[in-house]
């Protein structure tokens, strides 16, 4: 017989680790407060030929200090590096010693992997040298000339694996790839892990890199760059999600409690997730609403409609995508971290994906 789930376990946030194109959490909060932008011509590759050549990049970001095992860096692409750094920052912010992670869980939402396009090109040679769609040619070239650890860099689960390896965390470990809602979803699911009694401490949130040639090409092909509102970005926001009594016992500062969460898909998904996350609670109890994504006009209109369906009087809104670009699966967790720098008591965060996936998370601030 399965054990009864312990329903009295509550999930609180006790630390955050943020890396954005603005820099640290404090630098990001200051920049957003001053409505400063961080979007600039992409530096990590020459995007000038694409319909969108700008990006929100973390130019001053250096992952090295966060890799206690430096050898792992060669296997870490940008989303993995961002995840490892954000995890290290969050864990320290929560007041844990470096070596206290043994039982901690890790749950990272991420939608990207680098693909190392120039390496693929170098291995395959130019189009005039042979037909890459011919398996004999393709195989001979890739097997001889592609760096052999290519797969290990690009596996989607690597961000959470590297976080665990660097922190020595043996707790439950997973990666979510539900498109752009994956980061927010990771926070909601981590709260479920805690409530279910599987673990007391989870490092959870989003880490993503949208500044990738293959993604620019794909977004370009699908018309995402047709307006001027969609600028890909990179960044990470991971939180320490902790069981309330565990946090109290060690005297931790409590940023807030995860009090609502839902995900769904299809027509009307966002209205549904807001309603489900609210449950029996009055919509008027929400003090701040973090918007999902402000890019395609149709997205904005859909979101406005969903908000009107749920709220008679919509609460004040917060968004930072228009300033720093859209950090994909990390965008919503970053917005949450910044919203928690404000003073509003109850924060609702929305996130939507490319195929009508939606997630909503509600966090209630604590007065310590």
């Amino acid at each position: 017989m399965p054990m009864a789930p312990n329903t009295s376990r509550r999930a609180v946030l006790t630390g955050s680790g943020v890396v954005t194109p603005f820099g640290t959490l404090q630098q990001s909060a200051d920049a957003v407060h001053a409505r400063r932008g961080a979007v600039a011509p992409a530096r990590s590759f020459d995007a000038s030929a694409f319909a969108e050549s700008r990006a929100g990049e973390c130019n001053d970001f250096d992952a090295r200090p966060w890799f206690r095992i430096p050898k792992a860096l060669k296997l870490a692409d940008q989303r993995t590096r961002l995840a490892v750094a954000a995890a290290g920052i969050a864990f320290a912010d929560a007041g844990f010693a470096d070596d206290a992670a043994a039982d901690a869980g890790v749950l990272v939402g991420s939608s990207s992997h680098d693909m190392q396009v120039p390496d693929l090109g170098r291995a395959l040679g130019s189009l005039s040298e042979g037909d890459v769609n011919d398996a004999d040619y393709f195989g001979a070239r890739i097997l001889r000339k592609l760096p052999p650890l290519w797969l290990l860099v690009n596996l989607p689960n690597m961000a959470s694996a590297h976080v665990a390896i660097q922190l020595g965390a043996h707790g439950p470990n997973s990666t979510l790839t539900t498109d752009w809602i994956a980061g927010l979803q990771a926070l909601g699911e981590a709260a479920r892990w805690v409530a279910d009694g599987e673990v007391d401490v989870v490092i959870a949130g989003g880490a993503d890199c949208g500044v990738l040639p293959i993604l620019y090409a794909t977004l370009d092909a699908e018309g995402y760059f047709a307006g001027d509102a969609f600028v890909p970005a990179e960044g990470a926001a991971l939180f320490v999600v902790e069981e309330l009594e565990h946090a109290r016992a060690r005297g931790a500062r409590i940023l807030g409690e995860i009090t609502g969460y839902a995900s769904s898909t299809g027509e009307g998904a966002l209205a549904r997730t807001m309603q489900k996350a609210l449950g029996a609670r009055e919509p008027s109890s929400i003090d701040l609403l973090c918007d999902a994504a402000l890019f395609a006009r149709s997205h904005v209109e859909d979101e406005q409609r969903a908000v009107r369906d749920v709220f008679q009087n919509p609460p004040p809104r917060f968004e930072c995508n228009s300033l720093m670009g859209f950090a994909m699966a990390a965008a919503a967790p970053i917005a949450l971290a910044l919203a928690l720098e404000g003073t509003e008591q109850s924060v609702m965060v929305n996130s939507v994906g490319t195929m009508q996936q939606a997630a909503t998370l509600i966090v209630d601030r604590w007065d310590n």
Partner: protein
């Protein structure tokens, strides 16, 4: 009030069976589906074998125009989900969750490779040429194919399911992870019914090449049916397979109330991380021991309750030995009383789909009270000295089974399954 999680629907598209009945029969008979790769010319590859699925029909409910645009992984997922949904008779349900692990994020895009070659220059990379070539050759649904997160959304939208939706991706552990996470949704009350499982195919040139580069695959090209030989002294790597397994998980009272057939029960799930190295498992099998231990703890079971174990059993020396070590450490004397088998001996490694397909194999075993064999086991590795049900299926009393899946990166998952009575 405890919410128990039962299995009310199963669907499988496997190399040795396109539905549960055929898959079940093949497992019982120990039928290998490994053969020379037919999907592409593999002569340039050191590994030229795999467990492929040649052709299968679109489920009648699916729009042929959509089907034509879908990649292999999405097709496997939809086909297996259609079987599971039909098996569970979920005709009018809408508040159903979907939780699927699908593919590594599709490296199976010819347009990426053509564009990469177009951009290559002697002294750098021409991003303009890369973009032009990509836009010239890009096929529909490029963004959806790039994202593993599109597959659960696709399945949900196919049936108008409005419950929670999630894509989980712990690589080769993801199929088991999906089932464990879905069971949690049900236990916590996020959903009463969830379609959960995994779908994958890495049997295309880049997929095979990326594993060849890591020297992970068997090169026993002249004896394909004998190539996947977990726990054998003469194994030389794993064999890639492809396919999908989908289960309908349901809260037990909900299932009983609607008169659904119960195939089995999810008793507990455990996840962990070796946190050691990216590919080498921890020499003491820390992660594997923890995931099995956690699955049993959640199930409220002790090691002596377990009758059967469906091993990760990849057929690589390191993985096989570490898994055996972890089993011995956790089960102590009881390890010798366990019947253990590796489904991969017959269908190869279905990567992201492996855990889901192997969970279905395990539930079939529980239903039939029959452990399926580990085939090709004639010369066991002296370090793998447990009962692997070599070569021939064995009838046995079986109430509780455990199934393992481990990943590159060190993520370990175990799921405890029961008969559901």
């Amino acid at each position: 009030m405890t919410r128990r999680v039962v299995v009310t629907g199963m669907g499988v598209v496997a190399p040795n069976g396109r539905d549960v009945a055929a898959f079940r029969a093949s497992l019982r008979e120990g039928r290998s589906a490994v053969a020379r790769i037919r999907r592409f010319a593999s002569s340039a590859f050191p590994t030229r074998i795999g467990a492929e699925i040649d052709d299968f029909d679109a489920p009648p409910s699916i729009d042929p125009e959509l089907w034509a645009q879908l990649d292999r992984i999405a097709r496997f997922a939809l086909a297996a989900a259609a079987q599971a949904v039909a098996d569970a008779a979920l005709t009018r349900a809408t508040d159903v969750g979907v939780l699927i692990a699908a593919g590594f994020g599709s490296y199976d895009h010819e347009e990426i490779f053509t564009a990469a070659a177009a951009g290559h220059t002697a002294d750098g990379f021409d991003w303009g040429a890369f973009r032009r070539q990509f836009l010239d050759t890009v096929k529909p649904r490029a963004l959806a194919r790039w994202s593993p997160g599109s597959v659960p959304a696709l399945v949900a939208q196919q049936y108008g399911f409005t419950g929670p939706v999630m894509s989980v991706m712990t690589a080769c552990a993801a199929g088991t992870q999906a089932l464990g996470d879905a069971a949690r949704w049900i236990r916590r009350g996020d959903a009463d019914v969830v379609v959960a499982g995994g779908a994958d195919s890495e049997l295309y040139p880049m997929g095979v090449a990326s594993f060849c580069l890591l020297r992970a695959l068997s090169r026993r090209n002249d004896e394909p049916q004998q190539a996947s030989r977990p726990f054998s002294a003469t194994r030389d790597g794993f064999v890639l397979g492809e396919g999908a397994g989908m289960l309908v998980l349901e809260e037990r009272e909900h299932a009983l109330a609607r008169g659904a057939t119960i195939h089995g029960e999810v008793l507990g799930f455990g996840s962990s991380c070796d946190s050691y190295r990216v590919t080498d498992p921890h020499p003491d099998g820390v992660g594997a021991t923890l995931s099995m231990q956690r699955a049993l703890k959640q199930a409220g079971l002790s090691v002596s309750d377990v009758d059967y174990l469906n091993a990760h059993g990849t057929s690589t020396a390191l993985n096989d030995r570490i898994e055996v070590g972890a089993i011995k450490r956790l089960f102590a004397e009881h390890a010798n009383r366990l019947a253990i088998s590796s489904t991969k001996s017959m269908i190869g490694h279905l990567t992201v789909a492996a855990g889901a397909v192997e969970a279905i194999a395990t539930i079939c075993s529980l239903q039939e009270q029959l452990a399926h064999p580990t085939i090709n086991l004639h010369d066991p590795d002296p370090e793998c000295d447990l009962d692997f049900v070599p070569n021939v299926a064995r009838p046995m009393k079986m109430d509780v089974a455990l199934s393992n899946s481990f990943a590159f990166g060190g993520q370990c998952t175990s799921i405890a399954l029961g008969r559901g009575d």
